[in-house]
Amino acid sequence: MDSRRRDVLKAGGGLGIWSVLAAAGIVTPAQAQDARNVAAFEATTLDDALRALGAGNAAESGAIRIVAPDVAEDGRAVALSVTSDIPRTEQIVILIEENPYKVAASFRLSGAMAPSIQTRVKMARSTRVHALVKAEGRIFAARREVTVTVGGCGT
């Protein structure tokens, strides 16, 4: 989703190598920051976020399942899982369309990891959740609506 990141990962010969090196104190935080798709994480419109992720025309896929409640009572913590049945899934990105910052998380998966992740996200109000999956250089997308009773991301 970020060609520079892919190059870094290839150069490092592994997954998230900069994070590991930074955690081990081998590289500086500034170098580790290079691995993060800053433009995507700072995007405040969905279009900007998708563009930064290279997902402007991602193909819709029924092989991505987003599990979330239809109605979330408390937008401060909504349980969510994304599962990909797309072979060789290497990255999963979760976006919350109605939040001030759209990209909630980007997960880079090793071959050992089952392509399924559970987490909890904030939802400012009722929103569409987008899941992107990168596999063999292609990006696929799925969406799901969640109604929020009490928002949890306000100002």
Partner: protein, 103 residues
């Protein structure tokens, strides 16, 4: 000082199921306190999970991840005694690493 990440690892059906709860405020920088002052952004930006030194998951977070981030996923294989290391870094440069052994 930050609070340890709570990590659970369970061997099941030839896989290792991992669950973890990071302790972090995950402030997005847009909220205001009772006096109307803006609460500065403070959130985890990167997290990684390693098994016996090998990265199994590398994550970037934004502030839309809930306070005290929770992750659960499964990795193929595993054995009692495997070392699981969970690390994070936040936007203020603070880092933390916690280790458990698979029981």
């Amino acid at each position: 000082m930050s609070t340890p990440t709570r990590i659970r690892a369970m061997l099941k059906d030839g896989a290792t199921e991992l669950r973890m709860l990071f302790s972090h405020p995950m402030e997005n920088g847009l909220r205001k306190d009772a006096e109307g002052r803006r609460i500065p952004a403070h959130f985890i930006t990167e997290a990684s999970v390693r098994r016996n030194g090998e990265v199994v998951l590398a994550a970037d977070f934004g502030p839309s991840i809930a306070t005290n981030p929770y992750l659960a996923f499964s990795i193929a294989g595993g054995a009692a005694g495997d070392e699981i290391v969970v690390s994070w870094r936040d936007n203020l440069g603070e880092t933390r690493s916690d280790t458990i052994r698979v029981a």
